[in-house]
Structure formats: structure tokens, C-alpha cells
Point group: D2
Chain length 348, copies 4
């Protein structure tokens, strides 16, 4: 930790993921927050937008194009999709980029265009970006200049499913996933559905059959399966701030039992600092990872023989977003992967 | 509504379902609450237990065996399973019984013993009880002396699935259901998991692969399918007081499309006062039925061709419990089915 | 209830108070909802805005100036302050008006201008409006054409304090009130503070020393005291949908004890259908009036001799808004005051 | 941080404050958690009780009297009041004690007996204990063997009021305080009031006129005022896990203005790492200190000239409990006061 600190700029610091990146990097011993951008809030101190960030030595919010990027080492990009690609394309090559948007997650420009409604505007970068699900892309992340962090749902889903799909323990063509998310997963947009009175004391499914996180999950599952995958995925919004839980119903390959499934996952994540496969009978809960970078996974027999349920939980703003970004940032610059991510979950 | 009112006793009035039965019957124009029982609270006024029921003319809580049942017409029984069967067996035949427990839902004594860990103690009544999912058992309910109201999950699941299983539109062997419930679904028991700080700001799955509502769902689905059914069912607890949502993933029969599915459900529930199938694109939310006896159902295409999602929502304490009890009570005594159940949902 | 129903138009039906007026009037036996206005949503069915109001026979939303007001008997006006005065002024004299905004609550145009930042634009009506805290203005309400329903905080505060101020039991110059409100009290506006993630899991004081409900409370307290009153009033936002609680610290007049205070309030509200003074030791909770038109009041000794605390609770959208509007509407048209307001509180 | 780590035992690790002490000390660079006690859970691993503490190297829960205390340096005592005094009395003198209970906060045995209903059973220690409101007792804490950490409410109240009472800026005889607390403030006891469905979606006042935190607040305020103080204090329970807010209404001394009040508080806490007085107009919110050891204070003019409002917020489990315990522990053993307490608030 001696020597000069790495200078980091956070793009889009007025959203929840940007703010959580600030929270984590403020306590990161090897980095320094050198710039915070938020175009519509430019000129204001960050604590005018996020009072919980008051009292720290932090730069004021500025417009992204007024930053002297030659002076920075890393950009953590927490901008909306669509906007991101052009801004990242405009950053100097000397700046490493950890991106939290969807812009560089899909390798196929046609798939991007199909799901996002417009042609990608930085296809030359799209091909070079690494899909940064850290536990499954460590070497590529360490060597990358541009890392596209997975969406929150994909993080929880892929951590639960990639090992067992890759190992052929389950039928990749019959994965049926439901998911629950806290409201911060929808960002800080001013829309009816995000109001306390609309989101409180109730639950609903949304994006049924067509959620934008689908293509990246299918892309990575297909890579693991060695064949195209169509995923059934149904997210639900539930009245909590943070937390994401996915329940994956899987059909076991012939001869595979539930204990095999659990053991395979345990082995896959043995030694991982942030992923923990629970013993039989223990059910993961989102509140057990609140504010931390952990993912907990539980494996259960289904009522129907030959089928099983895998449940995983994360904090959508940490492992599902800014925490994984810091984890990748650490790797990209050769630091211990857990640096700045040691928070114990905040319960209750 | 002229003539003497029907005299109703509510057994187990110190739990949430009992209290919601009081709420509904207090405003029911053709009934009178003549007795409220709660053995451990006997002697206290009901508003010492439930202050929101203060200010009404209500009898004090008494022990169930001190009630003069010869004087009552109907018992609404909101007691725990196990306890219920012996008490119901002890009531005079002149008292009609609407039971909210699980004791009389299963027709097969062996299945009961398997799931509840002891032999049934009133098998003579078990065979005579009617499974009271009102919309699917109207005539039987009207003629019954003892109606076993479905559990809250089964109500939401069966309303969504029975018509399409019976009609052969979906593969009854591949029904995969996840469910979300508010905390009142767990009752008023003093246990860690029900504490505000344990249930708040978080979500988790529970009873995975072995929830006690499974056998009654399988029993009714099998009846509709004409063949045994094993159901994959995974419930989750989410931080809200009331509300239940189920998301059923179904595999369509050859030649059946999503619109056929929706139309079939719409037709099945045409004219029903409490079940409404939403138009394409509209997603049901638990908050839209809070405090009301309604069930909303939405039908959606899955990402995988030939598969679909059916989502239904209820208030677990109303249509999932006390509201359905009143609906059945109305039928049993020849009153309009909607009497006392006209509440509009309370939103926000 | 025989004879033709009263035809009611609800102005501003796309807000929470408007929606709650629809909820109540849908079940009101002597009225018919003949028009629903919402200028920005004109042309849409109400359930496109509020899905919980789907399935009922309700008119579509229209612009207020396209309504044929000659055909209506009553307008329930749930529009923002400022807008209201001009619209009410444009309604024909034959339409009775129950207004939920602040526009006609203040009798002094200068006070209005001071707190709302512009001159009143319908001062001729301002003088004729009745301040409709029903329990304290029954005769005037019954005779009025235009009733200004009190704000939600003033309803809870004045019900607790008016009798004891009028009776001289407390020092009107030293009333110190704090209040708690659920988020629906802030309306449905799309602003950061109303987002689930901003309002959830936290509490804060707001409008400290200068909340807009102050002048109407001071006006009514002064009327009761026979002298000007300056009120210390501090509201807090807490994470719940509905409910409002006020805690008033009072200094007792010489010779007055806490029991005198409670007895005086009990006597003042003896026979009232919606106000209930609790016995010594019982603390009112907002959840005990959720969805109902009730106000509960508790009286407690303070730690300091000669001082006391009065706590009152209401549902801000019912007794604090639409419920009181219906109560006043009933009075204005000669119906039983409780008609359509019989809902028992929804707990849990 | 070099050299052997300090060995800490946490007594009462199965409650919320104990768990939060574990959370903080797990990341404290100079201490080692050497023992965790919980008599009724003895023999179980801590993550069987608190799954969020799984995956760390922590000792199993044991009975307090099986711990070899000669081997430990510090006891953090998170036991219920009453129990605590006898256990602390039984610890060897070589163990320094940071106590979170009420047992050693009151210096006068008669006051203790009056409020807790029995004679104190360790009066010899009572006199030697230091009341550990760190910012106001730094030297005494540093020299103490036994520190009694203030209750959560007293922490928020005294940080807001002690400087202005001591400075004579306000009338110490007319302090009127209301407070709001999240449900974790009530501990993990299995009682109705702590259930999700009872505490959710509602608010109520409790302990009105007689809350057990009163005598310690009065003791410390009296010490600052140089005269006895009777405090009006009314706490409310609101539906959130963590967070505490107090609103103090104060009567200013002649010639003192609101800006003087704010400046005095700012000066009093200048340089403090954990207390921050906000600029005029900024209102503190509990969510801005969630999970952190900070206290935010805001000062506002009241509607009545010569009166003012002081609002302060803390996280009841951190600055109001375990965080302050760690802060005191650091002082007692000569470490930097902020060690292990650097967490940024978790928002949203």
C-alpha cells in the first residue's frame, strides 16, 4: 500500500451504483477518488446529492468532459447504457475502464441492437471488452483494459449456474429461473414504479419473458454449455432497498444427484473469498449479504426426482455492481482482489 | 337481509386470520358475531389483543369449550392444524363449519399422516369435508356442512392452474411454481423468523422442496389432470404484511399458444366476482388486491417457445383465508356470495 | 337510500387522495361516481393509472373543463393548492364542493399570500368556505356550499387539542407538537424524497419551523383560545405508506390534572362515531386506524409535573383526507354521517 | 498495529448489539475475538444464530462462566440489565470491561432501584464506572477499567444537548424531546410488539412519560446544568431496522439566537471524528448514518421566537451501542479512537 495511490474517476456519481462505488473506494487503501462526474449536477458537492457522503474529502461533481483524464489511472463508469459507449470511446487509452453499464457485456452487435434498439456506437471496443464475472474470468480481467461488469441478476444467476452447466450436471436447455430484487436495482430514476408508496408493501413480476439481462446470461451460459441456451427468467420487485435472490430450477443430468450438484459447486468455489456454498439444509437470505461483496449459494432437492433448486443471493449494489467493479479493478492493477471489500454484512 | 341474523362463532380469534374474519364479519349484513374464542386469552376483550377491533360491540374472548354451540349456526375455525380436528369433531352437527386449517383439506389419511406426522384423529369427518376453493367447488360448498378452505398458496396456485390443467392446455407433469408471501402468511407465532428485524429488508426462500401446502395442491391438480401430479413449488418470504404472488412456469400442450391460455382462463372466470384475468401485457401486483377478496391473473409468453408464465396475486389473509371463508359461508347458508366482501383494495 | 343517487365528480383522480375518494365512494350506497378528472391523463381509464380500481364500472378520466357540471351534484376536489381556487370558482353554484386542497382553509387572504407566495385568486369564495373539521363544525358544514377539509396534520392535531384549548385546560401559548407521517402524505409527486430507496429504512424531520399546515392550525387554535396562537410543530417522515401520529406536549392550566384532561376529551367526543379517546395507559398506533376513518387519542402524564402528552393517530388518506371529505359530503346532503365510512381498520 | 492483538470476549453475542460488536471487531486491526458467550446457545457456532457472520474464523458460543478470563484483555458486555452486574462483578480485575447494559450508567443506587425495581447488586463497581459518552468523557474513559456505554437514546439526546446546557444557552428546565427508533432498538426479544406484522407499516409512541433511559439523561444533563433536570422525553417506534432520531425543543436563554446555538455546537464538536453539525437548512436523516458510527446534528429556528429545535441522528446499534463501545475500547487501551470504525454509511 505504499507508493502513490491509484487515481480513480467515477463517472455517474449521482446514481446508486456510483454512490456505492464512492462508499467502497473511500476506504480502499490503494486508490484515491480523483474525480466524480454527474453532468446534470456539475458544480455541486457530492453531499448535496448524497448526504451520507458528507464529511469526507471528496472532489465536487463535474461534467465528464471537463475532467483531465490524462491525470487518471482508472475510470469506474456507472452511467446509463447507451450513453456509456460514446463516453468510454472518448477516454484516452491510458485509462483503464471498469464499466457497470450493459454497453460492453454483449459480444454480438446484432444481439445488442436487438435488445437495446439501436446499433452499437463503439463496436471496436465491444470486441475487446472482458465480461467481468470475476470468479469466472480472473485472468482475462487481470489483462484487460476494459471490463464490462455483469448486471446484478446475471451475477447471481451465473455464479449459481455456470459451474454446473459447464460440468454438464444439468440440462442447459431447461433452466427456469425466478428472481427477486430490492428497489435499488431499478436505479434512482424518477418514475411511478420507484415511489415508496408504489413499491412498498407489495410485490410484482416485471419484464416477464423479456428482461434486458437475458441476453448476457444466455451468452455466458451458452459459452459454458457449448451450445445456444434459451433461459426462462422472471424477475420480481420486492419492497426492500438492497438485495437480490435468484431461484433456479434445474433438471439434473442422468445419474447426477443433489449432493453431487452441491459438491460440484462447493469445489468450484473452494477458496473463493466472496462465494460461499452453504451446507445442506441452509437457505441463503439476502439480508445475510447486505452491504457486503458476498454471494451465498444453497442447493436443494426438488419435489420431483431428478430436479433440483439452486438459490443464490447477493447485494445487488455490491457484488451485483460496485463491489464487483472494485474486485475487478483490484485485479486489473495487480492488487489483492479483496482490497477494500472486507465489509461484514450489515444485519439487521 | 331481513329476519334474524346468522349467529357465528370464530374459533381462534387471537390470530391474524381470526382477526381478519372479525373485520369482515363485523360489516357483514346477515351475520352476527356471537362468540370469539382464544383459549390462552380467555376472559379478555378482543381489543386487548387487537386494538384495531376496539370500539365495536363484540363478545369477549372465551375458551372454545365454554361456548354454548347449540345457540350458534356457523363456526369459522381459525385454529392451528392438529388442534382443529378434535375440536371440530366435538361441535354439534347443527353447527356448520368453515375451517381455515389444513386438517380437512386432504382426503387421503395416509397423505395427511405423511405430511403432518401423526394419524388423523377425525377421519370420519375428513371424508365428508369439501375442499372449498369456491370458484371450483360452488355446488359442493353450498351443500356441505364442513368446508375446508384451501391454504393461501394453494388458492393462488390453483386458481391460476386448475382450468388450464383440466383443459389439457399445459403439461401437468412439468408445472414449476415459485411464490412470494408477506409475513402475515407465517401467522402470529413468536419466533425469530417473524421478527421485524429478521424479516425486514430482505428475502429468502423457505420450505424448499417440502412445503406443507404441496400435498393439497397436488391432490387438486391430480383431480383436474386425471393423473398424479408432482409439483415443483418454492415459496419465498418478502418484507410486506399482506399479499401473495405465484409465478407458474408451464409447458404448453402442442398447438396451444399463450393467447389460447389467456383466453381459456378468461372464459373459465367470466362472470366471477372475485377472479379477474388481466389483458395481455398487464402484470398483477399484490398491492392491487390488498385487503380485498380478489385474485388477479396475468398470462405471459416465456422466452422459450412453447412455454408460458402465469402470475396470480391474492391477499393471503382475505381470498387466501378469511375472505374465502366468508365467501363459502355465504354459499353454505344461501346468501349472495359477495355479501360482506365488497371492499375495494387499499392502495397505497 | 332509495331514490336517485347523488352524482359526484372527483377532480384530480390520479393522485392518492383522489384514488381513496374513489375507493370510498365506490361503496357508498347513496352516491354515484359520475365523472373523474385528471387533465394530464385525460382519455385513459382509471385503472390504467390505478390498477387496484380495475373491474369496477367507472367513467374514464377526462379534463375537468369537459365535464358537464350542470349534471352533477357534488364535486370532491383533490387538486393541488393554487390550481384549485380557479377551478372551484368556475364551477356552477349548483354544485356543492368538498375541497381537499389548502386553498379555502385560511380565512385571511394575507396569511394565504404569506404562506403560499401569491395573492388568492378567489377571495370571494374564501370567505364563504367552511373549515370542515367535521366534529367541530357540524352545523356549518351541513349548511355550506363549499367545505375546505383540513390538512392531514391539522386533523390529527386539532382533534387532539381543540377541546382542551377551548376549555382552557392547557396553555395555548406553549403547545409543542411533533408529528410522524407515512409517505403517502407527501402525495404522488415524482421527486427524490418520495422514492422507495430514499424514504425507506430511515426517518427524518422536514419543514422544521415552517410547514404549510401551520397557519391553519394556528387559525383554528386561536379561534378556540380567543387569542393568537403560535404553534411549535415539527413533522417527520417515516417509512410506511399510510398513517399519521401527532404527539402534543402541553402545559396544564393550574389545578388541572392529566385525568381531567382525558375526561374532558372523552366527554367532548362522547358519542362521536369516528373519534375515540383511549383509557389511561393505552397508546394509540397508526396501524390501528389503517384504511379507516377513525381517530384514536391517548392522554399521558409527562415526566414534569403539570405537563402532559396527548397522542392522536389517523390514516392520513382517510380521516386526514378523503374519508373526512365523504363525512362532510354526507352532512352537506343530509345523509347519515357514517355512510360509506364503515370500514374496519386493516391490520396487519 | 504490530505486536500481539488484544484479546476480546463478547458477552451476549446472540443479541443484535453483540452481533454488531462482532461485525465491527472482525475488521478491527488490533483486536482478536477470543470468546463469544451466549448461555442459551452454548455449543453452537455463531453463524447458526447469525448466518451473516458465517465464513469467518470465530470461536463457538459458550457459557460465560466457562471462559478462561485470565486469558482475555477486554470484555464487551452486551447482556441484559440486571444480569450484567453480577457477571461483571465476577470478572477478574485484569479484564477491562466495556458494558452496553444500563447496569453501571446510574451513579445513584437509589435511582437505579427506583427505575429497575431492585437494589443494585454490585454497588462497589457502580461508583467506579465511567459514563462513556466518548466525546464528553474522553479522559475518564481512557483511565477507566469499567465503562458504561450510554443507551442509544441518551447518546443521541446528550450529544445534541450537553454542550448547550453546559454553556447555558438553553433553559435546562424546559427541554422537551421526542425520539424515533428503528425496531432493533427493542432488541431481539420474542414479543408481539417486535413481530414484523405488528411493527411494520405503522408507528406508535411508547414508554410515554416513563422510559428507562430517562434517569441517565437527567443525570448527565443535571451534571452539565449544575442543577437537577426533569426531562420530557417521548420515544416512538417506527418501521425500520436501524436508526434513531431525536428532536429536542429548547427554549433559548435571553439574548441567544439560533445561529449562536448552531455555532456553539459546531465549536464543541470541531475536530470530532464522529459528530458533525450540519450547516443551516440541512436536516439530518437516520439513513445517512446507517451502519456508521456518526452522529449528525441540525439546528433550526422554531415557529415561536426564542425557541429552537435540535435534531440529531445516529445508528442505534453503532454510535448508540457497539460502535461507541469500540470507540471506548480503543481509548481504554491507548489506540487511535477511530480504529475499526471507518465504515461509510450504507445508503440506500
Amino acid at each position: 500500500m505504499d507508493g502513490p495511490k491509484l487515481r480513480v474517476g467515477i463517472l455517474g456519481a449521482s446514481g446508486y451504483t456510483g454512490a456505492d462505488a464512492v462508499r467502497l473506494l473511500l476506504r480502499h487503501p490503494a486508490t484515491e477518488i480523483a474525480a466524480l462526474t454527474a453532468d446534470r449536477q456539475a458544480g455541486r458537492p457530492i453531499d448535496a446529492v448524497f448526504p451520507h457522503l458528507g464529511g469526507f474529502r471528496l472532489p465536487d461533481l463535474v461534467a465528464w468532459d471537463t475532467v483531465d483524464w490524462s491525470d487518471l489511472d482508472v475510470a469506474v463508469c456507472a452511467l446509463p447504457h447507451g450513453t456509456t459507449q460514446e463516453i468510454v470511446a472518448a477516454l484516452p487509452e491510458t485509462v483503464r475502464v471498469v464499466d457497470l453499464s450493459a454497453d460492453f457485456r454483449l459480444t454480438d452487435p446484432d444481439v445488442y441492437a436487438e435488445w437495446y434498439g439501436h446499433a452499437h456506437r463503439a463496436t471496436h471496443l465491444q470486441g475487446r471488452a472482458v465480461y467481468g464475472l470475476t470468479e469466472h474470468a480472473r485472468d482475462a480481467v487481470a489483462a484487460a483494459r476494459l471490463v464490462a461488469c455483469p448486471g446484478c441478476y446475471p451475477t447471481a444467476v451465473l455464479l449459481a449456474l455456470l459451474p454446473v452447466v459447464r460440468g454438464g450436471l444439468v440440462d442447459a436447455g431447461r433452466l427456469t429461473v425466478t428472481a427477486l430484487s430490492g428497489v435499488s436495482g431499478a436505479g434512482r430514476a424518477l418514475k411511478d414504479a420507484n415511489l415508496f408508496c408504489e413499491a412498498g408493501e407489495g410485490a410484482h413480476a416485471y419484464g416477464i419473458g423479456r428482461h434486458r439481462h437475458m441476453p448476457e446470461m444466455e451468452q455466458e451460459l451458452a459459452r459454458a454449455a457449448g451450445a445456444p441456451v434459451a433461459l426462462s427468467f422472471t424477475p420480481h420487485l420486492v419492497p426492500m432497498n438492497r438485495g437480490e435472490l435468484i431461484t433456479a430450477h434445474v433438471v439434473l443430468a442422468p445419474g447426477v444427484g443433489v449432493d453431487d450438484l452441491r459438491r460440484h459447486l462447493s469445489d468450484a468455489y473452494a477458496g473463493e473469498p466472496f462465494v460461499r456454498v452453504l451446507p445442506a439444509g441452509a437457505a441463503p437470505a439476502t439480508r445475510h449479504v447486505r452491504g457486503s461483496n458476498h454471494c451465498l449459494i444453497g442447493v436443494f432437492a426438488d419435489r420431483r426426482p431428478g430436479e433440483a433448486l439452486i438459490v443464490s443471493v447477493i447485494d445487488n449494489l455490491v457484488k451485483g455492481s460496485s463491489g464487483q467493479a472494485v474486485q475487478n479493478l483490484n485485479l486489473m492493477i495487480g492488487l489483492p482482489e479483496t482490497l477494500g471489500l472486507e465489509q461484514v454484512a450489515l444485519f439487521p
